[in-house]
């Protein structure tokens, strides 16, 4: 086993996902299958190999700091599932 049911539950918590019992069982099996496959990478010795995060790396992508038009508050709020004209409204936190 590459991944256990408890680990999938833990990862789902981190990712803010609720899994039903059926999903948990199915996902555990599928994730285990996928992780068993990707373990193929262990065949390769990568000691000292520099990781690639972008195939075409650009360092310090500077540009002029110009003020340009941005969204109005109204436009920015327009897609909000719940908003009061000034801010997005969410369930009480404290």
């Amino acid at each position: 086993m590459k991944i256990t049911r408890e680990e999938v539950e833990h990862v789902a918590r981190l990712a803010k996902l609720n899994l039903s019992e059926e999903e948990l069982v199915r996902m555990t099996g599928q994730l285990d299958n996928i992780l068993a496959y990707v373990a193929k990478l262990d065949e390769l010795d990568t000691e000292g190999v520099v990781p690639t995060t972008h195939a075409f790396s650009i360092n310090n992508a500077f540009r002029e700091d110009e003020v340009i038009e941005s969204l109005s508050r109204e436009e920015a709020l327009a897609n909000g599932p719940n908003e009061n004209g000034e801010a997005f409204v969410v369930p009480r936190i404290i």
Partner: protein, 486 residues
């Protein structure tokens, strides 16, 4: 001949010559959509009113002599490119009602040139899939054979172009999502060099791999669309400041002296013999056109799928954290605490494959596993990139199949996601290495399903790819073919 059957190049000549108006062309496409889309399911949304307005505006521009090369040309848009004021769902329930307040840079560019946007086309949710079956709303058909997949994730783009519902489409390619559906539907599709086309307004899946590109009915059209979308964008810090050539300029230059690499790893076990035959025929065509062939090796090809299915989900798990029900998209109405709202919103709003990839990605990045998975995959990514660098010392372009098989029946891989992932093996490496690739129709199998040929080049070699693809198309005569539908 109906106007919708014209290529972009042909339509351009007629529009400029005055024998056709953009309105006539647009109406012809809209009628075609009405005729065939209830069977094909390419379009999630047809923006008829806006399209006709854009067509009239294009006709005015053309009339006054300042129409650009895409002016008045009706196109479809994959539903993950933000279109101002027009719903952009990404094929996901969580964005079902999302109306972007701005245009993606590529959309802005198309509009500035007077292109006509017919609507938004179906795709796998957030681009995650190889068949478009992961679309939350509808699954596009393969126009060449009912019940067969159009490919993915840009399945709606490929089916709409293939079925002549539009003259071209914009898709996106993270692991083959333009080239694979193009191959399966018998059209041309290009994934440009990473950074060649702006990603601003492309809803992110895996930011270091995503690239926007065109799908068209022939190679010339593909080059014309690339002319319309390529270039640096200050709003995408990974876009590259480099002059954009006229991609149509060198299409007809010959292939004398061109070195075509044949990667032995792309012709291995699992390759359908009919696919192999089509690619071998393509190699013969290029030889006869004056190219020479070189046997090359890309030894880390077999690790591509494993690398991709760690890196892409890792990036996705981070990118998709934004779907929390706060500022846009679906919010679960029943949760009474903030954490529950996040969880319920995501659990109900996201589909199965998306959840699976978020879980893999979160796991690969989580404490204690980062080195073993994400870092290891990023190191092997370097080895794959180095394979290409070495190969391009001895060749100018690499020829191969796009997919190991032609299109398959819907539902085949429903219970085995890994089996479907493995079908991406021939397209994934280009994204990991950031190099450009094109799929061009090469032939058909005995069931009448299209088979594409893939050409990959070094960074910024799109012109060479177009030129080689153009020569293939010239010899096969497979440009602008339409399946017998409607």
């Amino acid at each position: 001949m109906n106007p919708f059957e014209l290529t972009i190049g042909q339509a351009r000549a007629e529009l400029d010559g005055g024998s056709l108006s953009s309105r006539e062309l647009t109406v012809s496409c809209l009628d075609r959509i009405k005729e065939v889309d209830s069977e094909l399911h390419s379009f999630l949304l047809v923006t008829e009113k806006e399209a006709l307005q854009q067509a009239d505006e294009a006709d005015r521009k053309i009339g006054s002599g300042d129409g650009d090369s895409l002016c008045g040309i009706p196109l479809s848009i994959k539903d993950l490119l933000c279109t101002k004021g027009v719903t952009t769902t990404c094929g996901s329930k969580i964005l079902e009602n999302f109306i972007p307040p701005y245009d993606a840079t590529v959309i802005e560019k198309l509009k500035a040139q007077g292109a006509v946007i017919l609507g938004k086309v179906a795709m796998d949710e957030f681009g995650m899939g190889s068949t478009s079956e992961n679309c939350a709303f509808q699954v596009p058909e393969n126009p060449w054979k009912k019940g067969y997949v159009a490919g993915g994730s840009s399945g709606g783009s490929a089916s709409s172009v293939s079925a002549m519902e539009c003259l071209g489409s914009l898709g996106s390619d993270t692991g083959g999502s333009i080239r694979q559906p193009a191959s399966l539907c018998g059209v041309v599709g290009m994934k440009p060099t990473y950074g060649r086309v702006s990603r601003y307004g492309l809803v992110a899946f895996a930011s270091s791999l995503d690239q926007v590109g065109p799908l068209t009915r022939n190679v010339t059209d593909c080059a014309m669309m690339m002319n319309g979308i390529a270039g640096y964008d200050r709003r995408d810090s990974t876009s590259i400041q480099r002059a954009t050539p006229d991609y149509t300029a060198s299409l007809t230059e010959g292939l004398q002296g061109l070195r075509v690499g044949i990667p032995r790893e792309y012709f291995g076990e699992g390759l359908d013999p009919e696919v192999a035959r089509v690619v071998e025929n393509g190699i013969e065509i290029l030889k006869q056109a004056g190219a020479e062939t070189v046997d090359i090796s890309l030894p880390h090809t077999e690790y591509g799928v494993a690398v991709y299915y760690l890196i892409a989900p890792a990036e996705a798990s981070s990118n998709l954290a934004r779907y929390d029900g706060v500022a846009y998209g679906y919010r679960d109405p029943n949760a009474d605490s903030l954490i529950d709202m996040y969880r319920e919103t995501r659990s109900h709003g996201l589909g199965d494959e998306v959840k699976r990839r978020i879980l893999i990605g979160t796991y690969a990045l989580s404490s204690g596993y980062y080195d073993a998975y994400y870092k290891k995959a990023s190191q092997v990514r370097t080895l794959i990139l180095n394979d290409f660098k070495k190969a391009y010392e001895s060749c100018d372009v690499i020829i191969s199949p796009v997919t190991p098989t032609p299109a398959w029946k819907r539902g085949v891989h429903a219970d085995n996601p890994l089996a479907l992932y493995l079908s991406d093996i021939l397209t994934i490496s280009a994204n990991l290495a950031g190099i450009p690739g094109i799929s061009v129709p090469g032939g058909f199998n005995s069931d009448g399903l299209p088979i594409g040929i893939q050409l990959q080049g070094s960074h910024f070699s799109e012109e060479t790819l177009f030129r080689v693809a153009y020569n293939l198309e010239l010899a096969t005569g497979l440009g602008n073919r339409c399946p017998d539908i409607g």
